[in-house]
Symmetry: C2
């Protein structure tokens, strides 16, 4: 526990007596605090004065090891061992890192914000399509963009890592990458990206498409060439600590996962199920986007149904994979959420390409894009408002979910689908949406001559829903707080725009944290607390989850425990963090 | 009380006996119901059967006259007289109408939605500038636009009426016109407006700039030529009924007014003060917009202060006029609210013109427009978020208000300024804004060697503010519910975009009314009720007003009475409606 051993060694030689006294005090302190200590002292007129002592700083790995070791040696209890490790710290243990010796020798060519932890290398590419093309050939790629948009999801998904020259910790790239548990560096402003010439310049260097780069999501560094990575180990001390944590926590932990692969990762990290499966991500990938666009461009319900019929088997297949990966764990699947215009290309090139692929005149596509334009899309035609105006979309999705569930169950795997209707503000929206869904489900049961258990519920993400969830509860089997939207509407902050004043707000102390990163307990938290009480007054045992990004943030997890939520749901890579934070909250609660 | 007198006359001749019997029953019914009756009967086998009776329909004028007459004849009490007139009905009495005989003979060339009542004629113009130019020469104009935007405010203000070919009852033109009490027809889709050629076509007709048209805001009709109008009379029976209403109501009624003229109209219509004076409307008019744009384009706080210094005397003058018109009635003045990009031209021509006028390169203007762009402006950088990031703006406005108040008071007129900080979500925002304002005010008091009474308060228009108004109350002298924004954020509806699904929602019965027109009592109303209780727990006597458009809607006024608000504030032309609705609510409450 001594910071500057060199000096101490000198000190030992020059002042043996005081050195021995110091060592005695150190041992006494460490026995007392039952932990490694950092302390300060001074010597005045030959007398030793102790100034300060505090628990020593250590790496995540050391923290876990020390806590588990001390517990095994009966120096501390399991509870204390759990309390000794900071949840946020273990994030580093869940992602690969670069070989530290190798990284030390390398000079970074640029530095951005460490938006999502991990270490990744690959050939640099500048478009999502190129990323997908090379990845299919089994090549490692790093997707490099000025900014990312929903159309890049496919490429982000297959890339080893993502780097952008613009955007902050809540930019699209950062949020999506964290959700994917994918290494990401954003806002590396030194990179002058030239899409046309397929290269970036940084200082005097030029990096062309296909050149190798390495990025470090722990510190934001970007390097030329390829650095070796060290994979995380989830066994050993880490696994032991997690086992202990699960023993104490009362809050469930689920994961947000949209693909069979994500579902597998989630289970590996200890998720008890999926709390949020976003079906729209399935529509962005590969050829599906064309079918989905065909649906949007259709003249009438009949035309939409024709396109949806082609999407049905694809979506069903997705759900089959997810149900298989989950092996009977519950799976909350959210019906289509984003506004339709997010699925259409807004630039000329994209519109021409779409026209060519679908055989629809460019002018018609342009008109559609124009007619779908919204001044405030966040408050626009999305969520259940889509399914209520175009019921055929919800019907297809419900059919895909239930048919997939029955298929998987027939193979002997347990299934538990939970259909989640997004963006409900009024109980009548859920009532109508539920009736529609039940009709489809009963129809399938009849045809398949079988039944399965299922649930239908909703997100609480519009303030009005939180205020009236006693009424909504009558039509819901479960609730899940969508704290991203609840924060947007509750605080009146557009997540996409708040960067213009929110950092200043935090500096001025108006909010103690960015409310999109750490739940605003005094405001949005109050609303949640009230909604939990109100909802349970109407339906005593209704389950409350949370599936915003806050579900993986330790302080917010503690809050969720305190207000009595049933579970939190977060990105797979944050599941262990949430498990640990939930255990700490439960332990804190008892004493 | 008989609908088809001709048939009845025949009937009298052919069946004298039953006719006499019918007349007897009629008299008995009208004595019983103390009101004119519409009834249905049938005659079977020589026997008279009465089927149904209900209070007869009548024009607004007749309704007021009958109620006042019957009361004067002691047939009904004042309370009953008040209950006999529907508040919404009297809207027709407050605006001019076309001479009914003349209108009957004319064929409308187009029909739109009756967005704001009244009858107006004038030379048709297609730009706000042309409207202002001709109005200055004392000419009557009708402003005709495809849609209107905030830049058209000046032209709308001077026009006799407004007609648009696009947009619904909540479009910009409709909302602003109602606020101005100005005749307006929107969504007259048959008009094919050609801005370049300065004309519109409708069917085979062409109407050029300068041609006379007449528009009827009561029924949405558009006519060629000029029809005579009949001015409303606010005296006589109408005045008597209003006097009685004021005797019974407990809810205060204020008006939303932005100019000395509006303030005068408001007082004439019986407003007890101004509940919302929107200072930004002052920045759109005439040359001021250039000074304001200079402020936005400034490089730093120093540059902004320079431009604001030039705006100070202009704004002070506005307030002087308003204070004089109010003669000591309270005046709630809201500091700058809309996002800055609303003040900049978004089209090339406008940007070039601005560049020429201000001597700023077009590229710089374009960059500024680009950098201020927001994805969800409704949830963006506006309201107090402006004043907190650019305190010099608030400081100028506070100075203008207080200096104007002192100036007017020195002339012997009482003043009561109430400074309203918009869009507060967190108590710390108000705390900081208040400290800034108090500093400016104390500085003025010192320099002027005098003091005046003033109040500082905030709007409750962000859900978070409603949820935490016990905390906010510690820094507020008054609260005013901004139900337009509270509905937007509380329900998650963008007012500008909701037209895509909200009409269907009303048809499906999800909402019983458009929540922007009639307050959503079950949702937003619940939030308001809770906020009133919470706020008063923290500060017993704090005043609660409402200044959304709901403040002039009878059902919503009744709700405001029930939850114990202090006052409602609405457009001047709706003040009598609110007074009557408030009286009815109080009477209903007692029995
Ligand atoms: Mg959401
Ligand atoms: Mg507002």
């Amino acid at each position: 526990g001594i910071r500057t051993p060199k000096d101490i060694q000198t000190f030992k030689r020059t002042n043996k007596k005081i050195y021995n006294e110091l060592m005695k005090i150190r041992n006494r302190l460490e026995r007392h605090y039952k932990d490694m200590q950092d302390f300060e002292f001074t010597i005045q007129e030959g007398k030793l004065y102790m100034l300060q002592t505090r628990t020593g700083k250590r790496t995540a790995q050391a923290a876990v090891k020390i806590a588990v070791d001390m517990c095994k040696e009966n120096l501390i209890t399991q509870k204390t061992a759990i309390e000794r490790v900071e949840p946020e710290q273990i994030d580093r243990l869940l992602h690969p890192v670069f070989d530290p010796k190798e990284e030390k020798k390398k000079e970074p060519i640029a530095k951005g914000l460490p938006a999502s932890p991990g270490a990744a290398y690959g050939e640099v590419v500048f478009t999502a399509e190129e990323a997908e093309r090379r990845a299919k050939e089994g090549r490692d790629v790093i997707l490099c963009r000025i900014e990312t948009s929903p159309e890049d999801i496919g490429g982000m998904n297959v890339a080893n890592g993502i780097v952008t020259s613009r955007g902050g910790m809540t930019s699209h790239a950062a949020v999506v990458a964290r959700g994917m548990g994918k290494c990401c560096v954003v806002g590396a402003g030194q990179l002058e990206i030239d899409y046309k010439k397929k290269r970036f310049k940084v200082g005097s260097k030029t990096v062309n498409e296909g050149d190798w780069i390495s990025i470090n999501g722990h510190n934001g560094n970007v390097y030329m060439g390829r650095l070796s990575t060290v994979e995380p180990s989830l066994s050993g001390d880490f696994a032991t600590l997690m086992k202990w944590a699960d023993r104490f926590r009362r809050l469930g932990v689920r994961a947000n996962a949209d693909t069979p692969y994500d579902a597998e990762v989630a289970v590996k990290f200890g998720a008890e199920g999926i709390g949020l499966c976003r079906t729209e991500h399935m529509f962005f990938q590969g050829k599906r986007i064309n079918l989905f666009r065909e649906m949007i461009l259709a003249e009438d319900a009949e035309g939409r149904r024709r396109a949806l019929k082609k999407l049905l088997p694809i979506q069903r297949k997705d759900f089959e994979g997810i149900f298989k990966a989950l092996k009977g764990r519950p799976c909350t699947i959210r019906l289509l959420d984003p506004p339709l215009h997010e699925f259409l290309p807004h630039d000329k090139t994209g519109q021409k390409e779409m026209s060519r692929l679908l055989g629809i005149p460019v002018s018609k596509i342009k008109n559609k894009v124009e007619s779908l334009k919204e001044i405030n899309p966040m408050l626009g035609h999305r969520g259940c408002r889509l399914g209520l105006i175009y019921p055929e979309i919800s019907r297809m999705q419900v059919r895909a979910i239930i048919e997939a569930a029955i298929k998987v169950r027939k193979k002997g795997v347990k299934v538990l689908p939970e259909i989640m209707i997004p963006l409900v503000g009024h109980y009548k929206e859920l009532k109508i949406a539920r009736e529609e869904a039940e009709e489809v489900i009963q129809d399938i049961f009849k045809k398949e001559k079988t039944k399965i258990d299922y649930k239908i519920g909703t997100m609480i993400e519009i303030p009005r829903a939180a205020i009236t969830d006693d009424e909504i509860a009558r039509f819901a089997d479960f609730f899940s707080f969508g704290t991203n939207d609840l924060t947007q509407m509750g605080c009146g902050f557009s997540r996409d725009d708040a960067g213009k004043f929110l950092p200043d707000y935090v500096k001025m102390g108006i909010y103690s944290n960015d409310p999109f990163q750490v739940l605003d307990q005094d405001g949005i938290g109050r609303l949640i607390k009230q909604a939990v009480e109100l909802g349970r007054k109407s339906k005593k045992d209704i389950k409350f989850g949370i599936c915003g990004e806050h579900g993986g943030e330790p302080k917010s997890v503690e809050f969720c425990h305190k207000v009595g939520l049933t579970y939190v749901s977060c990105s797979p890579f944050r599941v262990p963090i949430a498990r640990l934070a939930a255990a700490q909250a439960a332990i804190k609660d008892k004493f």
